[in-house]
Amino acid sequence: MSNFIAGYIPLFDLYCLHVGLALSQFIVLRAGVFSLATAAFAGIGAYTAGIMAVNFGMHPALGVLCGTLTGMGVAIVLSIPLARLRGVYQAIATVAFIQICLSLNIYSEGLTGGAMGLNNIPKTVGTGTLFVFAALASYLIWAIEKGRLGRAFNTIRQDEAVAASLGISIRRHQMLAFAISGALAGLFGGLEAYHSYAIDPRQFGFHLLITVLSYVIFGGRNSVIGPLVGVAFLIILPELARPLAENRMVIYGIMLILVINYMPKGVADTAIDAIKARRLKARGGADI
């Protein structure tokens, strides 16, 4: 019995790690920022934490903290130029940023180990820690959603002119969203570093970008449940059948096309909306 469960632990670890990243992607999109930079922030957090451990023998808790703060710091700095851009321009800028990070990483072999990656990171983070952080991150995003920040983000995303007319500072809120996103990505990047002995630059490039984006597209961008469902589904799916695992990328690709075209709100949110609508109807329609 314990073997059965043990076999699924790596999957659960992956789930916890990727929930953090998905939430990082979720919160920026929520605030109307078309940023795809989560992968880059995760890489920055991972490498910071890894370098702290390998080169300076830092305690893992501190290392993870450094990773988080670096991720957050870089995100805040990035948000300043990005504040002037909207839509695809922001997207392109963040993709360029991922590429810059990748290139700089490979170029700075002395610090990061270049294309060979960073090795011999002590594995100090286990399933329990990952679960705790994933739960905390989910709570954080849920609390934001329920409160005034979530309402402000939502308004900015849907109509900036209205948000401004109601006294909501777009710049400040988007910078905040970026900061949270960077912190979360940096945090979980750091956790990843201490969980897997070694990290390499390719881990934090376009594959991760697409994966994280897929979670949020598939699960939903509106409520916290979205990323949680999205990660679960997309991680479990390849495990269900061998052919699915081998064709993982094709499946992600097809899924992206289908979901954004036919169920743009994502699985979880479409379901939530349907439940809400049915509840309203059951209450007896109001004459609108």
Binding site: F34, P81, G87, I92, S103, V250, N261
Partner: protein, 296 residues
């Protein structure tokens, strides 16, 4: 030697122009950033390779590549973007959808090619070098520059001197009004996507011949360069894309020749970033491109 590098740069610019024109065309007409464009480019190269590999002559390979790429591009449009026009979510949805399409196409290509790097058999294109004034130019380079120039001219003619071009410009300006004047926007879009794909496919064949290294991932760096070029030129601007291609091709060739390798990429993307920062509408794009636009 500088003049030689400038010459090389010019040839490279031609290929970049072919790639970027299609990219910027689609954005100009539908505000969709088609991230599957690189995959279409790669498909052109592969189709050409397999044609030659199967014994076909190069001219046939070229034509097939162009046609197949064009059709593939139309297929992507129909399956991935058409529905989005109705919901009005082209900006975000288009990016996501095209990422998916690119993923599917490259993975299929990976299976077909067995993850190998494909190379044209030797002398697929005759290896002839011309020398004049201390410069060396290969026949292939002449062919590349010539093909690029020819296609750009045909495109220019199509767009500015034919009824088709007028229809495209009408739909770009105002789809609804164009419909009211009897233009079928779906057909115009499909035709535009075909052209965009065909150009990309042609670029793919040329690149495949020039570097003789075709793989399912060959489109990725070009997508990145494509971003930089069309942003520099101004999203949606054809003359802008042309101008930017020349600048980009030159700058890239020169930096590779004279600067330590590995720095080129960083410079390119840092420049892209700076452009977005200070002049998001690029050289010839519309003024209010990157800023607080009117939200739906």
């Amino acid at each position: 030697m500088l003049a030689q590098q400038l010459l090389n740069g010019l040839v490279v610019s031609g290929v970049y122009a072919l790639f970027s024109l299609g990219f910027t065309l689609v954005f100009g007409i539908q505000r969709i950033l088609n991230l599957a464009h690189g995959a279409v480019f790669m498909t052109g190269a592969m189709v050409a390779y397999y044609t030659v590999d199967g014994g076909g002559p190069l001219w046939l390979a070229f034509i097939l590549a162009v046609i197949v790429s064009g059709c593939l591009s139309v297929l992507v449009e129909i399956t991935c973007f058409r529905r989005l026009r109705k919901t009005g979510d082209e900006e975000f949805g288009g990016v996501v959808s095209s990422i998916g399409a690119g993923l599917v196409i490259t993975t299929i290509a990976q299976q077909v090619s067995n993850t190998q790097i494909l190379r044209f058999p030797f002398e697929t294109f005759p290896v002839v070098i011309f020398r004049f004034w201390d410069l060396r130019v290969s026949m292939l380079q002449l062919f590349m520059a010539g093909a690029a120039l020819l296609m750009v001219m045909i495109l220019g003619y199509l767009f500015y001197k034919t009824a088709f071009g007028r229809r495209v410009r009408a739909v770009t300006d105002n789809e609804h009004a164009a419909t009211l004047m009897g233009i079928n926007p779906n057909r115009v879009y499909s035709q535009t996507y075909f052209i965009a794909g065909a150009l990309a496919g042609a670029a793919g064949v040329l690149v495949g011949l020039a570097f003789n290294s075709i793989s399912f991932v060959m489109g990725e760096p070009y997508m990145m360069f494509g971003f930089a070029i069309i942003i520099l030129g101004g999203l949606g601007s054809i003359p802008g894309a042309l101008l930017a291609s020349v600048i980009f091709g030159m700058v890239q060739t020169l930096t590779i020749a004279y600067l330590p390798s590995g720095l080129t990429d960083t410079i390119i993307f840092a420049s892209l970033f700076l452009i977005l920062l200070f002049r998001p509408h690029g050289l010839l794009g519309q003024e209010d491109a990157g800023n607080l636009g009117s939200r739906r």
